[in-house]
């Protein structure tokens, strides 16, 4: 048996040019399968951690997915607002630690505008409970002092090339309608956030008072005809918000989460709901994650093609090897040795290819993780292969072993039929 192994090795080595191409193609498909699986799980994890450190998201009664869509992703719009006194009532619940109001609706060149309090920058956590970091400048202050100050998400600043002190104007609603610019009250960039890989990057943050101020001479989505209130005049009005779109709620302890959830949904003042962000984000992923199955299918396809390549190469080489097999037969190798020789070679090539692919995946993740984090905000984690990745590896090796049985079986039949005189 060891004689056969040595021969198999020497024989494979003599055909290393062809075999290494097969090995590379197996490695490539392994890389695709493993790499895709890694990106998929990390993107999913990233997604489900778009909001962390927040125990409940509160909004007007609607679907939990819809609430998450506008509260966390600033997509779509709320059916109803919630009153500030309702939030005050929730804040007074003994289990509630903090409440950060969120007010949505305006936009800036397609980026969402979020009205909130400066607490937001301390309370909002993402990923593995990471806080928002100001790359430049500072957060706006609450009240009159912070009026017309904007803190930009990294993507907004990058895309529009904004720097601290730059002026920008906001658009009423999602934009597109003529005359819906809040052009009379420009904002100043006071801070730019570091990249997070969450919707925060694509958001312009202003104070709730600022949001009130730019709408002070507006009614029903349009400027009041004939009424013009200059930016400085607006400071004299009562800018305390009456309503907001949603709120993030932090609790003193996780244990009370269902208790508070019940309190919110049973609140007598107006119909409200509270959702657990992790659960709602998972639900949301099931909706937006459909494409991942198609991608997984594609990688599986690549795997099948590379194994077909393995079979084709070994089959094509078989005719050249018939003399070699006849010599081995004459020297005492049996047809089953021939079968072993070819199947073993196929298996070894697949195994080496799968290993190389796994190494390449690790290397790729290790080297590209900082870049991916900086440009796409996805935190790729280098770790031991997950259960799914082991399964994928095993599937590649198993499929390679089975695939190499096809040429091995043909060689077996040939060596039985040829005897010692290969008819080539």
């Amino acid at each position: 048996m060891s004689a056969l192994l040595t021969l198999a090795w020497r024989s494979s080595w003599s055909r290393r040019a062809t075999l290494s191409l097969v090995l590379l193609s197996v490695a490539l498909s392994t890389f695709l399968l493993l790499g895709f699986e890694q990106v998929r799980t990390d993107v999913r994890e990233n997604f489900s951690q778009s909001v962390s450190g927040t125990d409940l998201v509160v909004g007007a009664r609607t679907g939990s997915v819809q609430l998450m869509l506008y509260a966390a992703f600033h997509v779509g719009s709320a059916t109803n607002n919630i009153r500030m006194d309702s939030l005050a009532a929730i804040a007074q619940h003994r289990a509630v630690d903090w409440v950060v109001p969120l007010s949505l609706g305006d936009s800036h060149h397609g980026f969402a505008v979020l009205g909130t309090t400066s607490d937001y920058f301390n309370r909002f956590l993402y990923g593995d409970r990471e806080p928002l970091v100001l790359a430049q400048g500072r957060a706006f202050t609450n009240g009159i002092d912070g009026l017309y100050g904007a803190v930009l998400g990294a993507e907004v600043a990058h895309a529009r090339r904004y720097r601290l002190g730059d002026k920008l104007t906001l658009t009423h609603g999602s934009g597109g309608l003529p005359g819906s610019e809040h052009a009379d009250k420009p904002f100043t960039v006071v801070g730019i956030l570091a990249r997070t890989g969450t919707p925060v990057d694509r958001t312009v943050h202003i104070s709730l008072e600022s949001l009130e101020a730019i709408h002070i001479d507006w009614v029903g989505g349009a400027p009041l005809p004939g009424v013009v209130i200059a930016p400085e005049q607006a400071r004299k009005f009562d800018l305390a918000p009456k309503q907001v779109t949603a709120a993030l709620v932090g609790l003193k302890g996780r244990a009370a989460v269902f208790n508070v959830q019940r309190f919110v949904s049973g609140y007598a003042g107006e119909p409200l709901m509270a959702v657990l962000p992790g659960v709602a984000l998972d639900e949301l992923w099931d909706v937006v994650g459909l494409g991942e199955k198609a991608l997984l299918g594609m990688s599986a396809m690549v795997g099948v093609v590379s194994l077909a390549g393995l079979i084709a190469v070994v089959m094509a080489g078989l005719n050249e090897r018939r003399r070699e097999l006849a010599v081995l037969r004459a020297e005492g190798a049996g047809p089953r040795h021939v079968l072993l020789l070819l199947a073993g070679e196929g298996l070894m090539v697949t195994l080496a290819g799968a290993l190389l692919g796994a190494l390449a995946t690790g290397l790729f993740i290790a080297t590209s993780a900082p870049w991916v984090q900086a440009h796409h905000g996805v935190n790729l984690k280098l770790s031991v292969p997950s259960e799914t990745q082991w399964m994928l590896l095993a599937a590649v090796v198993l499929a390679g072993g089975v695939a190499s049985l096809i040429p091995a079986w043909r060689a077996y039949r040939l060596s039985l039929a040829d005897g010692l005189s290969p008819r080539v």
Binding site: A3, T6, L7, R10, S11, W13, S14, R323, E324, A326, V327, L328, R329, A330, E331, G332, A333, G334, P335, R336, H337, A417, G419, L420, S421
Partner: protein, 236 residues
């Protein structure tokens, strides 16, 4: 040594038998020249003698053992132990050196490995002695077989067939790829070596000029009584 009785062999799917031998006996130590035209079932007969093919009817035995009585794996082991085989050409595994090619039977057969060790102190020594005997210059011993000329390759093949003193050496037109000069020297060394090891040699060729050097000369068309071979004989 080699006994053939009432042998009938047909390739799968063939309508008629291509080898029909009623009786053939080759005693030990005899060198036999088997002469026959191409396509007369020579290679098939050699496959039967070497136990790679099994007859449809009748028996082939070697050293008193009937090939058909052995299991597939035992047949392969028995062949490795007792038969040295030389092909027309392409005898060598191109990726092994000359020495490693000669040692090939020792990889598959313990008996031949032990006998080679007895002969040369170690199988490796025996292989080098044989290569020296067949006149392959020492510089070529460790060279890959693919880099040797056809004449050199046939010498290595002869050394391989002889290592570990197998009882039977079967040669299937080993000189057909060699020119006259090389052919004569190859015949010298093969016959000398077989005499030295007192092995039985079954040598198949269509080149009748070689026949005089053998103990016995057999005509394949006389031995193999198939309808087609008798026709071939008639037409001659």
């Amino acid at each position: 040594m080699i006994e053939v009785r009432d042998l009938r062999f047909a390739w799968p799917g063939a309508a008629s038998d291509c080898v029909v031998i009623d009786a053939l006996s080759i005693p030990a130590g005899r060198t036999v020249f088997l002469h026959g035209p191409s396509g007369g079932g020579k290679s098939t007969l050699l496959g039967l003698l070497a136990g790679v093919l099994l007859p449809r009817v009748g028996s082939v035995s070697l050293l008193g053992t009937r090939w058909a009585d052995l299991s597939g794996a035992r047949r392969d082991a028995f062949r490795a132990d007792h038969v040295g085989y030389i092909f027309q050409q392409f005898n060598l595994l191109p990726y092994l050196s000359a020495v490693d090619n000669v040692l090939l039977p020792c990889r598959f057969s313990r008996l031949r490995r032990e006998r080679a060790a007895q002969d040369g102190g170690s199988p490796g020594h025996a292989a080098r002695e044989l290569l020296e005997r067949v006149g392959l210059s020492q510089a070529l011993w460790t060279r890959a077989a693919a880099q040797l000329s056809v004449g050199q390759q046939q010498r290595v093949a002869a050394a391989r067939a002889l290592i570990g003193r197998p009882e039977v050496v079967i040669a299937d037109e080993p000189t057909s790829a060699l020119d006259a000069l090389l052919r004569d020297s190859f015949m010298d060394l093969l016959l000398d070596a077989c005499h030295a090891s007192r092995g039985t040699l079954v040598f198949v060729s269509h080149d009748e000029r070689l026949a005089a050097r053998f103990d016995e000369r057999l005509s394949l068309s006389a031995v193999n009584r198939t309808a087609s071979s008798m026709q071939a004989e008639d037409s001659l």
